[in-house]
Symmetry: C2
Subunit: 442 residues, 2 copies
């Protein structure tokens, strides 16, 4: 009987736990789900599985639990993975995560290989599904002898059309903090027509690209982190364009830019006096002083927002001008903003979210030399507030990979992301059974 330890039972864990429990019956596994917080744990896990409260900083307990397991799945926030990974190396256990491969994890490569362990990262939706679906097409193109020239890829965690009932066309479907600070920590970097391009944070939400996904309408994309690193990861050295982006509904970025310009997304300092501040006071602290003008007018004037702009409706709808107490004791601007947004961007019980992904591949035909284009797109809708598209697309690829490691269908050792055919092919195939299906068109 194989044993699986799942660490972290947050928002994205439902589908993963569901899949693993279903397969546990077939393959006779024993599942343990561990979380720091025991409160909601039992609701997410069937009686057949074990639940434990685990503090990963309690080294003895962490090691005892890992020692017991045949495979560790970590759904913790990315910064905690190295702690678990080092314990896994020590106890000779493989581990899978849905997070970006960090340099700390990368550094375990040699030991992992020596001990024949697999550390498989970036196995969620973005990063994860994006790698797998892109690599499948890129490899097809190359196998046919054509030459890749451009690659663009966009992913967004959004709200399904039927639940899209606010002027931002957005609600939180994953960690709200990451939405608020998205784009900080260095400029977006990409390659366009052979030129390196850089977009600083303060321009990021004004340099959007428009894309359309058939049946789902228009989206806007803003550049996501360092696309240049994917030249090597995808073996695309020599292409003229590589660009990875994040999708929102049109108009989101222009309005979000207001918070960026104000400085309201800054997470680096604590604001004094938050305890006694209202939403309105918070916004006013980023505006010049004038005893007569309203906070609204000062803001619109400061950022050149026309009186008839849709940005105004979006801002007012959020309640940022309200004289409502913020309700936090001590916070950074980003924490205050997150707190205000959470009051509005909550999923209702019946709300369905949506994952949208879109890739564009430009290649030079082997025979004719013609420049041709392929696209690949994915839409996944959530079932409800709990079984979200986010939970499916993060959890299922991870769960399928975990199954394949346990059943030894995947036999790699070392530190990997799912750009290898032996990972992406079976995973993408099985995902189709769950309605996660890419539409490719030429």
């Amino acid at each position: 009987m194989k044993k699986v330890l799942i660490i972290g039972a947050g928002r994205s864990s439902t589908c993963l736990i569901g899949y693993m429990e279903e397969k546990a019956e077939i393959y006779d596994w024993r599942i343990t789900v561990a979380d720091r917080d025991g409160g909601m744990l039992r609701d997410k896990v069937s009686e057949r599985s074990r639940v434990i409260i685990l503090d990963i900083f309690d080294e003895d307990q962490l090691k005892m639990e890992i020692e017991e397991a045949d495979l560790v799945i970590s759904l913790l926030p990315a910064r905690f993975h190295p702690i678990v990974a080092r314990a896994c190396v020590e106890l000779s256990k493989s581990m899978v995560t849905a997070s970006y491969e960090s340099s700390e994890i990368r550094a375990l490569e040699k030991e992992a290989k020596e001990r024949r362990l697999l550390f498989l990262n970036e196995m969620g939706v973005d990063p994860g599904l994006d790698h797998m679906s892109a690599m499948r097409v890129i490899n097809q193109i190359r196998e046919q002898g054509h030459e890749m020239v451009e690659f663009e890829s966009f992913t967004g965690g959004l709200i399904a059309p039927e639940s899209d009932d606010n002027p931002w066309h957005y609600k939180f479907t994953w960690n709200p903090r990451n939405v608020v600070i998205a784009g900080q920590g260095g400029p977006a970097k990409f390659l366009q027509e052979g030129k390196y391009k850089y977009i600083p944070y303060n321009r990021l939400f004004r340099r959007t690209e428009m894309i359309e996904i058939e049946g789902y309408g228009r989206f806007e994309g803003y550049a996501n982190r360092d696309s240049l690193s994917y030249l090597e990861k995808y073996g695309l050295e020599g292409v003229k364009t590589i660009y990875r982006g994040t999708l929102r509904r049109p108009g989101f970025c222009r309005a979000w830019n207001v918070f960026v310009q104000l400085g309201a997304t800054d997470d680096t300092y604590l604001m004094p006096g938050v305890e006694n501040m209202t939403h309105r006071d918070f916004i006013n602290s980023f505006l010049y002083y004038n005893e007569h003008d309203s906070v609204e007018l000062k803001l619109f004037h400061y950022l050149h927002i026309d009186q008839d702009s849709d940005v105004i409706e979006k801002l007012k709808w959020l309640g940022i001008f309200d004289k409502t107490k913020i309700g936090l004791k001590e916070a950074t601007p980003a924490q205050v903003l997150e707190h205000i947004l959470k009051k509005k961007w909550q999923l209702s019980t019946d709300d369905k979210d949506m994952i949208a992904m879109w890739h564009k591949f430009i290649y030079k035909d082997r025979d004719t030399g013609e420049i041709k284009e392929k696209t690949s797109s994915l839409i996944v809708l959530g079932d409800d507030k709990v079984n979200t598209a986010m939970a499916k697309t993060v959890g299922l690829p991870l769960a399928i990979a975990a199954k394949m490691i346990l059943t030894e269908e995947i036999k790699l050792s070392g530190v990997y992301i799912p750009t290898s055919r032996e990972i992406y092919e079976p995973v993408l195939k099985e995902l189709e059974d769950y309605g996660i299906l890419f539409l490719e068109s030429e």
Copy 2:
């Protein structure tokens, strides 16, 4: 015979060395000037003094030299002061600097007091002269029983009207790197009419204040770092407004903002391919791709710069659109920009620079309850490219303080900035002999 060790002989050291050598003859001191780079050292120092090449990371040599000295004056970049300061504590020597007091230096308070040492920081122009001249007026106002209500203070290192021959009305008169990265590292913070206000870096150069100094015309000021910390330093708790700013000539900030918006002042990442890039390529790397449009038009469109804007003249004059090789091997955007600017913003041999300082004090009259205003302003002109106003205003306060420590006119021990009357009064008085004289008006 007392011995003085001066570490660092850069741009601002000339007047300091000159003053110390002059006083050395009177008081029979022995001066040693130490620098990492021996090249220009002898030109700056008379035969009477000793020059040495000193690497502060060579702990043995550093300690040997400090051991020999009665007082250490550090003109090193601020980040190196703690290394020197810790050696000074260990060897029981006092130290003066012109830099902001860091938390590392602050932490030496207890040991300094126990060993009866003085660590006197912020003894240059800004910080330095600004503290001293402001505290003199603030204390006068309070001694007369009035109540301080508002305090604003601006300082700028600029170019004298007679040498002001470029559209930016600016040349480098101190460390160019600090000019390029000015304003980064957290928002500007200040208090206005009882409200905390924050300006993020991306808005800093658009939130300027206009001020006028009689006989020298108009200036614009942008907010400088964290003004809130001066509430305590100046004993101004309870005032409604506190604002510290940096002066430029009108129009500078709006044009400089172009570089901020582009991301060209970013010092956090190395750009690939700088070796083969021209000025024009550098600017283009922050703009969208379009095979037909010029870099100029793309930039003007991107940042909404009208065809008749003075910003265009400023940018063109800098040569940022030229197809000139940058001439660096590897660099961050900030380093590339500094390199381009240095080609243009150099002082010519006969150029005179200018230090401008302006304080405004608003107080409530003790008897009438009336709100009254005082201002205090300073203009210092340089003699030439070497004996700059910057070198005078940074070096002379530091040198005078050093003299007063050596002659025991200052007998404090602990970690200080010159907000104490026993420092600022004699220093301001002696500075008048050197033409550094504040004009106060009611």
